[in-house]
Amino acid sequence: MNRMSDEGGIYKKMATYDKRWVYLALFAIVLYSLIRPIGMPIGISAQTKAYKTELDTLQEGDLVFSTWNMEFSGYMELKPGVLATHKIFIEKGVKLCIAFGHFEGVALPPEIFKQLKKWTDDYDYTEGEDYVIIGYVFPNEAAVAALAQDFHANVRVDWKGQSIEGTFLDEIQNAGDFDMISDYTTGLATTNLINHVVLQYGVPMVVNSIGVSVPGHLANLDAGLITALLASTRGGAELEFLINSPGPGLKSMDAFTFGHYSLIIFIIIGNIGHYGWTRRSGARERTGIR
């Protein structure tokens, strides 16, 4: 056996490259694609079209329970879907009751409504009259169940401590009075909402989920527990395209594409190296590296 195969040579380098190169490459590719996007075309999935169709069933004045079941980090992934969906809500003139499922939710309204300012100004969409933020109300399943049964016994003030009396929320007695639940989720109280609102009161629920939870929510979609699903940033970008309002989703699609390509290249390099190295020298057995 020659020296190269003993040491593993190029194959060993390919199989055991430092994972920090992967991080560095991803950083560089993502950053560059965001700074200099080339606008690669994207296709629109049937799932996103169904989500848009579901939102189109809403009429002016309908009551939507917008549940922000996400931490600030999760919002970074769901941002395109959150913004695009709320643009639709504002344009349609639906009444929004916004709740958080995580204490970090309190950081979200200023961030989100700053980006929706053009829409809230154009449609004269104001807090208190058209939307009410009831704040962090879902610490656990019991809280969701209680709120679903008797809304006003559990929510008396909004997130700023002002009474919700006299707002459109007076019409709500229990969760069954909502026309739709629009959930943005990293997996916090979503199951509880399905259990205690969808199952109990039959309120249709649309979900914008982070990528990790999409397979689980696809099962819920098939089972009819949720009526539509918007998948991760990609879904948000598709929705932006459908409503003709480019935003952070479409801007980040190049980074998405090139990020995936880079990972595929790293996987191919690793696999070629692994097979080449093990076949040539049997080093895998000797070194114990698998």
Partner: protein
């Protein structure tokens, strides 16, 4: 003044983010420790304030409105604090038992429908449909369910047709796991790209983002090379 504070918050936020990312370098360094403990401290502070606000809004305001039964929830909550007391720690078991019992009862009542009955119902569907793609989809579900179930037959020897169906089931599971891994990577990348997008929009942030990334990378390398990283970082 306010504008300067907003600007400073953004710039510090960008820098602290990249300081946190230096954890990917795989060696301890004080920048990462600083970022990590700042985040933990701030996060804990915010969670305490929000938690207390929640108690005020739901329990205290409820009691003021005449919902006296909520007094018991406050008492149970206070009993939970005995958890840290070395002698009277056992008192916290009562509210814990109450919480676990309530949670389980609420959950079991509905989980049977969402996780079992409705999922099984969704699996048992008519195979034939006029839409070819739907037909393919339903056949795939039926074949996958049946073959994967045979893989989990542990009480009998898998031989003959059962051996082959279990093998098919095994490979179908691999495909499923692969799809879940891909979805997970897409999700994590989406999270990262979403954050990077917010660090490069509006464009005036870009120089600070690139600068912070370079400074933190160079600092991480220097801390490793000089051996100071281990010495100066906590944990």
């Amino acid at each position: 003044m306010n504008e300067f504070l907003s600007f400073a918050a953004v710039v510090v936020g960008i820098f602290i983010s990249f300081a946190m990312y230096t954890t990917l370098y795989g060696r301890p360094n004080p920048l990462r420790s600083w970022a990590e403990f700042s985040y933990l401290g701030a996060g804990t502070g915010v969670s305490v304030v929000i938690g207390l606000t929640y108690i005020w809004n739901t329990a205290v305001l409820g009691i003021q409105a005449g919902d006296w039964i909520l007094i018991f929830s406050i008492i149970l909550g206070l009993m939970m604090l005995f958890r840290v007391h070395p002698t009277y720690g056992y008192i916290s078991r009562l509210p814990l038992a109450f919480t676990v019992g309530t949670g389980l009862a609420l959950s079991l009542r509905t989980q049977i429908f969402t996780s079992f009955i409705r999922q099984i119902n969704a699996t048992i569907v008519k195979l034939w449909t006029n839409v070819p793609l739907d037909f393919l989809y339903r056949v795939t579900i039926a074949v996958s369910v049946l073959t994967i179930l045979t893989f989990f037959l542990y009480t009998m020897e898998l031989s003959g047709p059962l051996f082959w169906t279990s093998r098919v089931g095994e490979y179908l599971m691999y495909i499923g796991f692969g799809a879940i891994f891909a979805q997970t990577f897409m999700g994590r990348l989406g999270l990262f790209i979403g954050y990077m997008e917010s660090l490069t929009t509006p464009t005036w942030k870009t120089p600070y983002t690139v600068g912070s990334a370079l400074i933190c990378l160079i600092a991480a390398i220097l801390f490793e090379r000089t051996g100071l990283g281990e010495k100066l970082s906590a944990g």
